[in-house]
């Protein structure tokens, strides 16, 4: 067992667990976005930042990837953490305001405005779909391509993958889309996961293709 303090409370947790696991186990809430139980930690969204160390040595780390250490002092709601967290939420909101998941996080942390140029990204590069496909579906049909501004998710050469099992797992976990198509026939495609009533692909004028990165969609095969 490893002894550490979280928000001033002395606790001991199992060796090898992450700060996030320890904090959640003890009931300290930490918001996460790219973290999901059953998938390997990735540290992409930075939403789960906490502060460790003291005085000049204090620093922000992503709790989902940081293993607990003996004697560590963790603060999950310090001023610095809150400031960083707000900023990250604002940035997420700016890049993908249509996401129900991000909206929910923003409202929970009382972020009502953001000060950046609004984009409507259809992907925030959280990597959940890639890990889902590889680790749970053991398909490895999609992955990251390119870098920087042009980084994107998709199949190699953008052609329909022959290892994809059409399970829809990638869409299910996607925080940017959340459309969770439950049918494979286009005319029955109903996106039930979010507040939008119509599947965006069936209502192209209204949504364009901003809601779904699948091109072509592995589940519904609607050509966009």
């Amino acid at each position: 067992m490893i002894k550490l303090t979280i928000n001033g409370l002395n606790v001991s947790v199992e060796e090898g667990s992450t700060i996030l696991e320890a904090a959640q186990f003890l009931g300290f809430p930490i918001p996460t976005l790219c973290h999901m139980e059953g998938l390997s930690p990735y540290g992409a969204c930075r939403l789960c930042v906490v502060e460790i160390g003291e005085d000049a040595g204090a620093k922000l780390v992503t709790s989902c990837t940081y293993p607990v250490q003996e004697g560590m002092k963790v603060r999950t709601t310090s001023k610095r953490v809150n400031r960083a967290r707000r900023m990250i939420i604002e940035l997420l909101l700016a890049s993908c305001p249509q996401s129900k998941v991000i909206q929910d996080i923003a409202s929970k942390y009382n972020v009502r405005q953001q000060r950046f140029r609004q984009e409507h990204e259809d992907c925030i590069l959280c990597g959940l779909c890639v890990r889902m496909c590889e680790e749970q579906m053991v398909a490895k049909a999609i992955g990251f391509r390119g870098r920087g501004e042009t980084r994107s998710i998709g199949t190699p050469f953008d052609i329909k993958s022959d290892v994809c099992r059409l399970c829809g797992g990638c869409m299910y976990v996607c925080p940017a889309c959340q459309l969770r198509c439950t049918y494979t026939e286009p005319d029955k495609a109903v996106c039930g996961g979010c507040a939008n009533i119509a599947a965006p692909c069936l209502d192209k004028d209204k949504f364009g293709d901003m809601m779904c990165y699948m091109d072509p969609c592995v589940a519904c095969e609607i050509e966009k």
Partner: protein, 279 residues
């Protein structure tokens, strides 16, 4: 695309347990780009996943998935070149060749790319065509560079290749002179840089006579070792040159004081070099 070639490349790397990047580099060297069938073949034969291979191939700018032209024109847009007007030079190339950066002309002659620092800031704005450096390029020189390339850029060096004459060089990064008047090699002031290999670091003095390969080194350099050379003033690594025509090792560029660039192969025993003098 010849599957045999890819197969041989994979075979070669299997033994040395080399990583994916070396394999892709070799494929790109053989075909000039990464054909999609080749990537497929790498996936099948090496047991790697195509998703990973495609991810790496699209991540690095030096890999191209599209066929490239016969001549590669790289315009540096690094900070130093940028402030000296490199964007307008890139634009001029785009206009003259009627393509955007990153594209290849229809006749497959030219590929234009912009790069983010060639490590030769003192030469800026610098343009590299098929490994030949063009320093202090002005907008008006663009047409001339294209014309020169068309008629065969390798003609430029032939003029000077056979002669033995002293050259004075400086670091392409900080522009400090690399000449060392205290030590003589071949009876001339030598070119002194810091060399490192196998975790050893030491002074390396090279003859400044173009055509002489005499050196004096602090440590004994075994044959075939590829040295890393550094500027003794700014400690920047001297790297980023064209691939040596003899052995393929990336060469080490240095500025010639009278105007131009000399590149030498850092592999011990290899005599590959390239000299571009600007008038």
């Amino acid at each position: 695309m010849n599957p045999e070639v890819v197969h041989n490349i994979l075979e070669k790397h299997q033994q040395s347990q080399d990583g994916l990047i070396s394999i892709l580099e070799d494929i790109q060297r053989s075909f000039g780009y990464l054909p999609s069938q080749a990537l497929q073949q790498v996936a099948e034969e090496s047991g790697r996943n195509l998703v990973d291979i495609y991810g790496v191939a699209t991540f690095y700018k030096s890999f191209s998935l599209k066929p490239r032209g016969k001549h590669l024109i790289s315009v540096c847009l690094g900070t130093a070149c940028h402030v000296r007007g490199a964007p307008s030079i890139a634009e001029e190339f785009e206009k003259s060749l009627k393509i955007e950066a990153g594209e290849t002309t229809e006749d497959q002659e030219f590929t234009l790319e912009t790069v983010n620092c060639l490590g030769a800031c003192a030469l800026g704005p610098v343009v590299v065509v098929d490994g030949h450096y063009f320093p202090n390029v002005k907008r008006t020189a663009v047409a001339e560079i294209i014309a020169k390339t068309r008629e065969g850029i390798d003609k430029i060096e032939v003029k000077t290749d056979q002669r033995v004459f002293p050259i004075e060089v400086s670091c392409p990064r900080c522009n400090h002179s690399l000449m060392d008047t205290m030590n003589l090699v071949d009876g001339h002031p030598c070119i002194t840089v810091t060399a490192s290999f196998n975790r050893k670091h030491g002074r390396l003095s090279m003859s400044c006579l173009y055509g002489s390969y005499n050196i004096a080194s602090e440590h004994v350099i075994p044959p075939d070792i590829v040295l890393n050379l550094f500027c003794p003033h700014c400690h920047a690594e001297l790297s980023g040159g064209a691939n040596c025509a003899e052995c393929g090792t990336p060469m080490v560029p240095m500025i010639v004081r009278s105007g131009g660039v000399v590149q030498v192969c850092p592999r011990r025993g290899c005599k590959g070099h390239l000299l571009d003098l600007s008038e």
